[in-house]
């Protein structure tokens, strides 16, 4: 067991340790315009239906597009797209067309009006299931209505944001399936 020396740590910096889920790109469409945002604040909330909770700042240009259309696509970029991920995070859809600006391909989705980002490893079409109950927290509850994922590699090399411009790239995978109780999922 490790034994660490510790000191007080600022509570407003704990995302460095807590956040590292994969950074995703969220695409949306509203009134013939599309947009893409970079997002790192999300969690899984259920399997069937597949629910994802995410926090979107209401000042973000995507916030109203997702709210009004009631739809979006969560796209999983791989680590070779990290500069694109940063570029998308640095700009606003109020000023530019992000698909054109970053050379990304918008593909039609099957169940939503928002486009898939072709270059991403996977694409999850989502409908907003609840934007009201969680309003005071800026949370959306999304239901994945259709998912697309690459067949190879089995696990993509993803990027995970730590705050302050530092990213963690996903490492090796290890299986403990034989030690796991199935009900633990």
């Amino acid at each position: 067991m490790p034994e660490y020396r510790k000191k007080d740590f600022p509570t407003d910096k704990i995302r460095r340790f807590l956040e590292p889920g994969p950074i995703v790109l969220v695409s949306s469409a509203w009134r013939a315009k599309t947009n893409i945002m970079t997002m790192g604040w999300h969690l899984v909330m259920g399997f069937e239906p597949a629910l994802i909770g995410c926090y979107i700042w209401d000042a973000n240009h995507s916030f109203q597009m997702i709210r009004k259309s009631g739809e979006c696509v969560i796209n999983i970029p791989t680590s070779d797209m990290i500069e694109t991920v940063i570029g998308i995070g640095n700009t606003t859809g109020a000023e530019i067309d992000k698909f054109a600006e970053f050379g990304l391909t918008a593909e039609p989705a099957e169940t939503v009006g928002a486009p898939l980002i072709k270059e991403c490893y996977a694409n999850f079409e989502c409908k907003v299931r609840d934007a009201g109950a969680l309003d005071r927290y800026g949370m959306f509850v999304l239901e994945v209505t259709k998912a697309h994922a690459a067949t190879s590699p089995k696990y993509p090399k993803t990027v995970h944001y730590r705050g302050d411009g530092v990213f963690m790239v996903s490492g090796r995978n290890v299986s403990y399936r034989d030690k796991f109780k199935p009900q633990n999922l």
Copy 2:
């Protein structure tokens, strides 16, 4: 830019790609008993105050302990603790004392009654800020009232659950601070 071949993917398996935030251990206390659970469904919701959202299944023994006490501690285990993380996930606090069973040290917290797990890299003391507004989703909103973290290494080697007993171990860190707009955090 990568170009992937894709196929339909079951929506109930997308956690493989979306979830990989660090697996955490949540410690709680209620009426002179303590407990620990393994948790992977959480997101950052704000900095000031530091808010964390998490999903806890109501059948989990920790659910009522956290609800009744209104407190818990989020502890960050490192990859050398992976077998302990699995053991804690495989057992229930209704039957065993997890601190004793897994040889972990309970240290008193400063702002909550729940104990810190000494062997973990970091410990975030939390008060339940909202268990009601998000009730229908099994979501808790936690406010971090005190945080403790190791001084070295700067970034811990964390484990990230992919479902089905497979874990991803965090990889290298890369800084893009010079390319990042400060307001993107």
